[in-house]
Point group: C2
């Protein structure tokens, strides 16, 4: 019994909320967050490096126990859960079971993943954000894998989008190429946060960077069907965790 | 010939863009704006009172001429037009023709209206934001009309949402009641701008109000399926017009 259970365990680094989703397609949505441990990437500017750099240890929860914790922490005042990481796509059976439990309680959910690994349970996710990492991350996109994922989710009815965080001109070109490669999936650009661990107020800087990115897109006739967004939580709460 | 044309003329107060949509369901979207003249409301805090208070005169354009102007001003670097007011739902045949022209050019469009008047062309709009005005506006919602509109757009495939601007506690209660009355339509709360004609920098104030509204929603277990958003353009560009 215990061995069977172990197969479904999910390595969890934090559960918090309800709060307001700060970025991408679901911006503004009241949601719980569950952050899984482990990542196949190590982006230079990762704002959640504690999920993969060994500084924090995950708790292993069965899907039932994960739901129980989400429910306890959220106090019942939510109907959506955002699962992010690390890379939640590294997890198989446990995630599939957790999604079924959430749906059975009338709770919708979404995931955010960089698009390096496909899981069958992607088709059950109510919303899915694929956020490939641009050159400034230091990571290299494997287009064979990304093509496979985009092709697989393309025909699903769920809300889906591509989101790229922009730090520099090279990132912007990378994002444009992605959009031209997958023109039929909603396309979001997000402003990069250069100081994800600073405790100072960077609001003015973040808004200035957002304005620059907006102006770039406004003046770029080759980019039309695009949404440019800030990280709302960073404007509101700085780099504080668990908000 | 001229008389026939007149029937379709659209009273236009401004056309600008491309820019980035600042609020609601289409937040972040690169789009052109066309603002129609005339409103059946006169909200106390209206940020576009020049559309109805007589201070500015509209130009009357045929749908063809309106498209020509949008295209000329936008320079071809767009594929979406947002039509706002004033109340664009006051306009009949001309709007229907303009939508057909836009669609024939591969351009999608959306409207924002307060939900006081239905038009058959609503069904052709790719996105539609119904933004009933809360008590602080001084306006009174006619629920017979609003029910009719919501019922009519409910089954359409287009993106649609309800959006309420919040200035105070009474507005918040009004918004909640709306959401409970129409639970199946996406529900957005937006932070009110108390100083829509000031030239000073109100960023800190606006972010503080947004934080307050977020905290209110976070701590309200009866509000679950909701999105809380700022007016991005006001954070970026203050109260400047035509951005």
């Amino acid at each position: 019994m215990n061995k069977l259970r172990t197969k479904s365990n999910i390595p969890i680094l934090e559960i918090f909320g309800p709060t307001i989703q700060g970025e991408g397609m679901m911006i503004g949505r009241k949601t719980m967050f569950m952050r899984t441990a482990g990542c196949d990437y190590s982006c230079s500017w990762c704002d959640s490096a504690f999920t993969w750099d060994g500084t924090e240890k995950p708790i292993m929860y069965s899907p039932d126990k994960a739901f129980e914790e989400i429910y306890k922490i959220g106090g019942g005042g939510f109907d959506h859960v955002t699962i992010t990481g690390g890379n939640p796509a590294l997890i198989g059976q446990g995630m599939s079971e957790l999604i079924d439990i959430l749906h059975s309680k009338g709770i919708s959910m979404g995931i955010e993943t960089q698009g390096t690994k496909y899981q069958d349970w992607f088709s059950k996710s109510d919303d899915i954000v694929i956020s490939p990492k641009p050159p400034s991350s230091g990571m290299v996109t494997d287009y064979t894998k990304l093509d496979f994922i985009i092709n697989n989710i393309q025909s699903n009815k769920q809300n889906k989008s591509l989101k790229v965080v922009i730090f520099n001109e090279e990132d912007y070109q990378y994002a444009k190429n992605l959009h031209f490669r997958y023109p039929n999936i909603e396309f979001y650009l997000s402003v990069g946060n250069l100081t994800p661990y600073s405790e100072e107020d960077h609001t003015a800087e973040l808004l200035r960077d957002l304005e620059k990115l907006c102006n770039k897109v406004i003046n770029d006739p080759s980019l039309k069907s695009v949404k440019v967004l800030p990280q709302l939580h960073t404007l509101l709460w700085g780099n504080k965790r668990k908000v």
